[in-house]
Symmetry: C2
Subunit: 363 residues, 2 copies
Amino acid sequence: MSEVPGNPHVSKAKLRERMPVAHRKPTMSDVARLAGVGTMTVSRVLSGTVRVSAETTQRVLTAIEQLKYRPNELARAFRGQRSHSIGLIIPYLYDPFFANCAQAVTAVAKEHGYSVIITTSDEDPDTEYAEAEHMLERHVDGMVVIPSRFRQTRLSRALFGKTPVVAFDRPVPDPSLDVVLVQNTAGARRIVEHLIEHGHKRIAYMGLSRTLFTINTRFLGYRRAMQVAGLAEDATFDCNSEEVTLGILKEKLSGKDAPTAILTSNTLATRYVLSSIAHLGVKVPNDLAFTGFDDFDLAEFTSPPLTVVRQPAQEMGRVATSLLFDRIARGEIPQTGNRIVLPIEIVLRRSCGCKHKTPVVIS
Amino acid sequence: MSEVPGNPHVSKAKLRERMPVAHRKPTMSDVARLAGVGTMTVSRVLSGTVRVSAETTQRVLTAIEQLKYRPNELARAFRGQRSHSIGLIIPYLYDPFFANCAQAVTAVAKEHGYSVIITTSDEDPDTEYAEAEHMLERHVDGMVVIPSRFRQTRLSRALFGKTPVVAFDRPVPDPSLDVVLVQNTAGARRIVEHLIEHGHKRIAYMGLSRTLFTINTRFLGYRRAMQVAGLAEDATFDCNSEEVTLGILKEKLSGKDAPTAILTSNTLATRYVLSSIAHLGVKVPNDLAFTGFDDFDLAEFTSPPLTVVRQPAQEMGRVATSLLFDRIARGEIPQTGNRIVLPIEIVLRRSCGCKHKTPVVIS
DNA sequence: CTGTTAGCGCATTCAG
DNA sequence: CTGAATGCGCTAACAG
């Protein structure tokens, strides 16, 4: 041990003058020294949790001003129990639906004075797991996540320990996590019923991978409506690219039981199908009625305007994040989490065969 | 001071048994104890910077496994000089263009093993400033930001100190910050020239606030093209909502010098104008040719498909972030920053009057 | 109302 | 190749 002779309990480091203030970020003790008080007083002035005399407060404030002191959040987070940050994991950011969710999450976090650490899972369960671990290592106070594939996601209470987590848009197998969803099944069912009211008998469901919760759940709604009406179902789950989708649609339409109406599973499928429709020169809604899941900004300006199921993306994000802050505040992890289901709306435009000049929204 | 009698320099805390491991997250010394080594050895095994004997390494690894030990990134960041996180400030997340930028930033950060702290400025210079300060307090290693209004942004080297910052999409007044932009002026100019080639003489520029850099810069390109062709300019900067835009367009079209073609300043303006056009029953491109800045997923499926200037959103984000990591690695702050300008593309579809069945991209 | 002490978990000295 | 001591900046707990 490097002790100074004669002062066996005071190390050299303790005696060494600290670097001149100019070259380091000022710390609390710099402020304390300048104000002629103890560091705790500065801390108290900053946090405002304990009364400090007006005069002292003023001195501290002046010193802070003078040194341009900024508290070190890292030290604060490290020292205390709260890091004042939450983690957000979503599949992609370039999907407007997810981006809208993220917008809501950051907005709520800001209201709580929290930072958001964001990352994408790219729909890959391993990436998702690794990113979640990474956030845990950063000691986030909680996490909001849109889980990847239901059967493969490894997100669970075992991983998170005492860190609260809210899943949204898609559920997780672990029942102890809170989850916020929308009425996927009911939404799909109702829009199919609408198509049936228009007189359609052969309605096709065109989706991406069935391993995605939302896509499968919506399919269930579609199937239900078809069954109730005594109609034969016709679903595909391979619309993974424009090329593939074009092939599928072409084959469907050339068959003798060609569908007269379509429901797509989500925005991406909508894009692929719309592209294929344009390519094939099919007229909507006369040759083929079109409906899709997920509304988007310009759905009103496509040709024809699109009838869709609208999900409350931002509200879902807001509800999920509020729930998370609730958990953080309460500090208790439930045995079984909440399950909140938000209502959807049907936006009737003209691709379904309706003649509305302006969209009609039913909820 | 609470000392144990007889041991004047050993406090009670020092003697007190630590909580049983089960109730705390395991720390490095838990691992060290179990492996029968010092904490430094564990640290070295983890960081891999210094050679440790194979046998010892194995013992440590086993202990880590057994305790499910995870390093505390917070402590690591606090202790070391790097927090391994960068900050990202964008105006909004619900704008697909910005979301795409953000996607690229998070992707590059992930490649570097970095976390991204994200926040929105809502186009407000004060929010922007506050959020930047907040990130600085969190000791991010660097920041990527899409600055708010050019004349009002308070982002500057003075605020950031030695923390590297890259601005993108829009510049900042402070020349010491790096900035990555696209060819806004050239893009606007070329698409207007294209309109002129179609025979248009009265071309209107419809934009949001001129205080936004991109919108003003694109206007300059528009103006240039008009001047060179000897045409009179006709620009408005008040398309802030659907209602206002509708009023403006209605008035323009009823005047005797009604425009025969339009260029919008960005996606939002495009939406407002498209909505107004639909509302007024104007036929595109026969009554009015349409062109816009910013491509988007479904621009191909609007009626008619839209001719637009396409910006490389993801590439811009990627370049900006790579530049930032460069600065972080080098650890030096330049006197005057880089200024990188990325090329744009013109996507010719049919709203401009072209007859292309599929889009033609010129760059 | 204010100050002192101690320690959060880690990595950088420095000694073996 | 390994370990002990030390302190990063802050605040909870206590003492005055």
